[in-house]
């Protein structure tokens, strides 16, 4: 795989912390400290109680596949096609967009159990991916 082909997310105040968590191996979920509502993608305020105060927790990495698309075209340099992009319903209750790896395209199924694998690019950039559940995720 070519190195640093991946478009890096811009790191702003509202999302940079989340990627820092990923860099340290964790799939973070933002949490309102006033009403405890979890939210993803991260935002600076709680839509439920309007509090600006938040912290985060680390997801278990377990979830089920909510939807998916298998991308064939166009093919961007560096990605492996067919590229399986999925929506995961995390067991904590939020939903996350990611890539499914270690799975043949014909084996992808709605509702299948998946688990997080922290992927690392040759340049050290880390991002959460998922694979069919092995039961090994903690």
């Amino acid at each position: 795989m070519a190195k640093s082909f991946r478009m890096k997310p811009p790191m702003g105040e509202d999302n940079g912390w989340w990627w820092q968590e990923a860099a340290e191996g964790r799939l973070a979920i933002q949490r309102c400290t006033q009403c405890q509502t979890l939210r993803h993608p991260p935002r600076p305020a709680c839509g439920k109680c309007h509090s600006l105060e938040w912290d985060h927790l680390s997801a278990s990495g377990r979830g089920t596949l909510c939807s998916f698309t298998i991308m064939h075209h166009p093919q961007f340099p560096g990605f492996d096609y067919p590229l399986i992009i999925i929506l995961v319903d995390l067991e904590e209750g939020t939903r996350f967009t990611s890539q499914l790896i270690n799975c043949a395209p014909e084996d992808v199924e709605f509702g299948m159990a998946v688990e997080m694998v922290m992927h690392e690019d040759p340049d050290g950039f880390r991002l959460p991916m998922f694979q069919p559940a092995t039961g090994a995720a903690s």
Binding site: K8, P10, G12, S67, I70, H72, P74, T97, Q99
Partner: protein, 389 residues
Amino acid sequence: MSHFLKDKTAIAGIGLTEFSKKSGVSELSLAAQATLAACEDAGLSPSEIDGFVSYTLDSTDEIELARTVGANDLKLFTKVNYGGGAAVGTILHAVMAVATGVADNVICYRAMNGRSGQRMGQGISGQIVSSDLIHWSWYMPYGMLTPGSWIAMIANKYMHHYGVTSEDLGRVAISQRNYAQNNPRAFGYGKPLTMEEYMASKMVAEPLRLYDFCQETDGGCAILITSAERARDLKQKPAVIRGVVQASTQGQEQMTSFYREELDSLPEMEMAARLVYEQSGLGPDDINAACLYDAFTSEIIMQLESFGFCGRGEGKDMVREGALDIDGRLPNNTHGGLLSEAYIHGMNNIAEGARLVRGSSTNQPKNVEHVLVSSGVGVPTGALILGQD
């Protein structure tokens, strides 16, 4: 009591450039050609135009166009956000201005070298950390960079839930391609499509194949809005605006509203339906034809449900019954639509809506009293109902 905006304004002119894959002229030139054509169509001098509305994605600014076509002093100039979601929104802004006396004659326009210049599917990039860029950044690093991939994620879930098949998507593509056979402006003119060819076309982002995608087009389209009263004195039969609304729901994102509980409906389109029916005092039974936004075939089937032409999950049944065809319940995109005429970001669907009311479509169904037109799907959107004077 009827709504303030109902029947106050009308589409008095429509103007289109030639559609091609390489216009060889600037986007400003396309916008000017479309504007002049709309004025010519209406029989109104460009020097009477005192307002312009376009899309934030449009490269042509209102004053550039105003100088180019010799417009009047401008009392309204604005652009609407969210890609194809802006289409009907431009009409709403013009209608509000004309109905309140802020402006008299407003041009809504979209002009793009969508094939030879900046293409829509080229992906997203950028360095400024805006909230919009952060939004896209949840997808960029995974290589999920194209409208097709975002729509496919919703389409797959919807199709799985309701048993919609590839053939159902193919039926939509073929219905619109059939219409294009009578429309010399259309990309699909002279290029009929069979189910066999549809099914054999290359898979792009499962479940979407090549023919599920709209065109990429160089071209422009302009719509002239004036008061219903003034429109009666102009050249064309007015397409009266019964209702026009914008709609964006809670949890709305641009293209990737993946985080709502349910993914198998279009909440913003259901909201647009509710509002436009309320404003017009009409319901689905009053609509005789439609130009539903069709960047992708799956969007048509979902919108049949959003606008109440059938129940949830029944859109595919309507399509199988031939509802979208010329003699069906709801002839749809009779010009070929974005799939088979041209992709002018929905503006050309509004033009066809006006033609259907005038009775001048190249595929004119019988007895068209009301036509429904919608804006982009999966984005903040809108709906428009045009009717006979």
